[in-house]
Subunit: 311 residues, 2 copies
C-alpha cells in the first residue's frame, strides 16, 4: 500500500557538541519519507522555494516516493537552525525562516486522494484539517502537533482531533494538551477528544501506545553515540505508518509491531545528520534491528509454577 504524508520540507543547520551541518535536507515530510520508503510507497505533499536542492530528493524518488505533490514556489525554502546541548536533551532554536512555508496551502493531487494511510506532519491544525477534507476515505490518520499549536490554535486542534485516529506527540506535548502531568490520564483525555490511539514519543526513553483497553511500550534503542536527534520523531512516524500501510487492515498485533518499526527508524535517524543514515541502510537493516528489539524486551514466563514461597 501507500502512505500519504503532508509536512514541511526544509533546510536545517544543526550544531551539536561534536559537529555541525549546514543547510542539509530536513523537515517532517523528509524525515518521515526517509524512514517510510524503506517499508512502503510514499506520496509526498509539501512546498519548497527556488533555492531547494531538488536533486537531493532524488534519493527518495528512487526509493519509491512520489514527489508530484511537492510544489516549488517563488521565494526561499523553510529554514531552521538549532543547537543541541551537551547531553542532547536540550535544544535551542537559533533561527527560523518560514519562507514559502508561510503561505503553504496543501493541495492534494487527484492521484493521492484515495490514500488510506495519512500522516499529518506538524503544521497548523487548520491546514491539517484542510488536508483531511481533500482525502476521500482514509482508514488510518496519524497526526503530529507541537506546543506552538496547542497553545495558539487549541480550538482548531480539538476540532481536528475528532477526525484523527492516532495522535502521535512527545510526552511534554501530551501533558500540555491535556493539562495533566500524568501520562496515563493525559492519554485518556486525548482519546476522549477523538483519537482511538495515542502514541507518546519519549526520545531516549522509548515510546508508549495507549488505546482503550490495552497499551504497548517500546524502549529507546541503546546508542553509544548520537549524531543528531533532529527528525527522530518524524522518522518514528515513518517507520510506524510505513509498516502499518503494508497490513491493509491493521490488527492489535500489527500496531505492536508498528511501534517497534517506528522505534527502529527513529533510532537510525539520530545516527547521522539529516536523512543521511537512510541513504545507507536497507529494509534488511531495519529487520535486523527489529529482531534486536525483540531480544531486548522479550521474556519467557510460566505463570503457574513460580514464586509463592510465603503466601
Amino acid at each position: 500500500m501507500t502512505v500519504l504524508v503532508v509536512g514541511s520540507i526544509a533546510l536545517d543547520s544543526v550544531e551539536t557538541p561534536h559537529a555541525r551541518a549546514e543547510r542539509v535536507l530536513g523537515g517532517s515530510a523528509v524525515f518521515f519519507s526517509g524512514a517510510a520508503t524503506l517499508l512502503s510507497n510514499v506520496q509526498v505533499v509539501g512546498v519548497v522555494g527556488q533555492d531547494y536542492p531538488m536533486a537531493e530528493l532524488d534519493f527518495l524518488r528512487e526509493r519509491g516516493a512520489d514527489l508530484s505533490g511537492v510544489e516549488q514556489a517563488d521565494g526561499s525554502s523553510f529554514f531552521w537552525a538549532g543547537r543541541y546541548g551537551d547531553d542532547f536533551n536540550t535544544r535551542e532554536t537559533l533561527d527560523t525562516r518560514l519562507g514559502v512555508f508561510a503561505d503553504f496551502k496543501p493541495r492534494i493531487p487527484e492521484q493521492f486522494r484515495d490514500a488510506k494511510f495519512v500522516f499529518l506532519g506538524n503544521i497548523a491544525p487548520e491546514l491539517q484539517s484542510d488536508v483531511l477534507q481533500q482525502v476521500r476515505a482514509p482508514s488510518v490518520v496519524v497526526c503530529d502537533t507541537m506546543n506552538y499549536w496547542i497553545e495558539g490554535s487549541g480550538e482548531a486542534l480539538l476540532h481536528l482531533l475528532e477526525r484523527v485516529d492516532i495522535l502521535m506527540v512527545n510526552d511534554s506535548e501530551a501533558k500540555l494538551l491535556a493539562g495533566d502531568p500524568n501520562l496515563v490520564r493525559a492519554s485518556r483525555w486525548i482519546r476522549e477528544q477523538g483519537p482511538s490511539i495515542v502514541v507518546i514519543k519519549k526520545g531516549e526513553h522509548g515510546a508508549a501506545l495507549f488505546a482503550e483497553d490495552w497499551s504497548f511500550f517500546a524502549p529507546g534503542y541503546p546508542l553509544d553515540a548520537i549524531v543528531d536527534p533532529t527528525g527522530a520523531g518524524d522518522a518514528f512516524a515513518g517507520g510506524f505508518l510505513g509498516y502499518l500501510a503494508e497490513t491493509i487492515n491493521p490488527t492489535r498485533a500489527d500496531y505492536r509491531r508498528a511501534m517497534i518499526y517506528g522505534s527502529v527508524t527513529g533510532s537510525f535517524a539520530v545516527e547521522s545528520f539529516s536523512i543521511d543514515r537512510f541513504k545507507e541502510i536497507t529494509t534488511d537493516d531495519v529487520l535486523e534491528r527489529v529482531a534486536e528489539f525483540k531480544e531486548m524486551t522479550a521474556f519467557e514466563h510460566e505463570f503457574d509454577t513460580v514464586g509463592s514461597t510465603n503466601d
Copy 2:
C-alpha cells in the same frame, strides 16, 4: 533460597501534592524486604533507635523475614522528611536526622553469613565493603549507591565495585559515577570497574540492564495515580533479587524475568505511602502484573516474510 539485605530502617515523613504521611516505616532495607518477602525468604541487617515501632515490622516477620540482624540501639531512629513537587519528578529533602544510623557498623549474624544473594542498600561504601568481608561466599552481590557517596567516597566506592556483581543505580547516578552523559557508555565504564551487570532505574521510564553482550529493557508500569514514589528503587531491588534467589544459578533468562519482577514490585511501592501496599498484595498479584508486563511489551514477528517492497 534466601536474600540478605543490609540497609537503612527509617521513619519517613512524606508530603506529596495530594496527601502526607508522618513518621511511617521507611528505609532501603524495609522497602526491599516489603517486596522481596513476596518471593523469597529475607534476612535483614540494620539498626533502629529506641523510638522505633518494632511491632510494625511484625508484618515482615510474618512474611518470612528474619529480623535477628536488626539491632535496637540507644538513641533515635534514622528520620527523613521530604516533599514531592507537582509531577512527582522533583523531591526536596526537608530534614534528615541520622540518629543511631550515624554509628551503624553492620554486624552480620553468624546464621546469615552463608548468604548467596546479597543486597547492599545505599549506605557508605566502606560499610558495604565491611558487609562483604563478613559474608563467606556470596554468589550474587547487588549494590546501590547515591550521589553523596559517588562525590564524597569515590575511592572506597571503586574499591567496593571490584567485588560487586550488579550495580543498581538511577540514570543520573550512573552518569555521575562514569562522568559520561551517555547511558550506554556510562554502563560500559562501570562494568569495567567490576560489576558484570549494571541495572539502571529510570523511574516512570522503566529500567535497563546492561551486560557485556546483551541488554534488556523494562518499561515503567503505567499508573494513573501515584501516591508516593519513596522507596520504589529499593522495592525494585527487592523484586529483582527476591526472584533471582529462587533460581539458584541465575541464567540470562532469569535476569530478564528479574527485571520484570523488579518493575512490578517497584510499581506497587508507589501506590501507597510507606510499604502499605505490600501489606495488601500477595504473590498472585505480583504474577498478575508480570503477565501484564508481557502484554505491554511482547510482539510477534516473522523475520523472513515482511517488508522489502523497495529493496
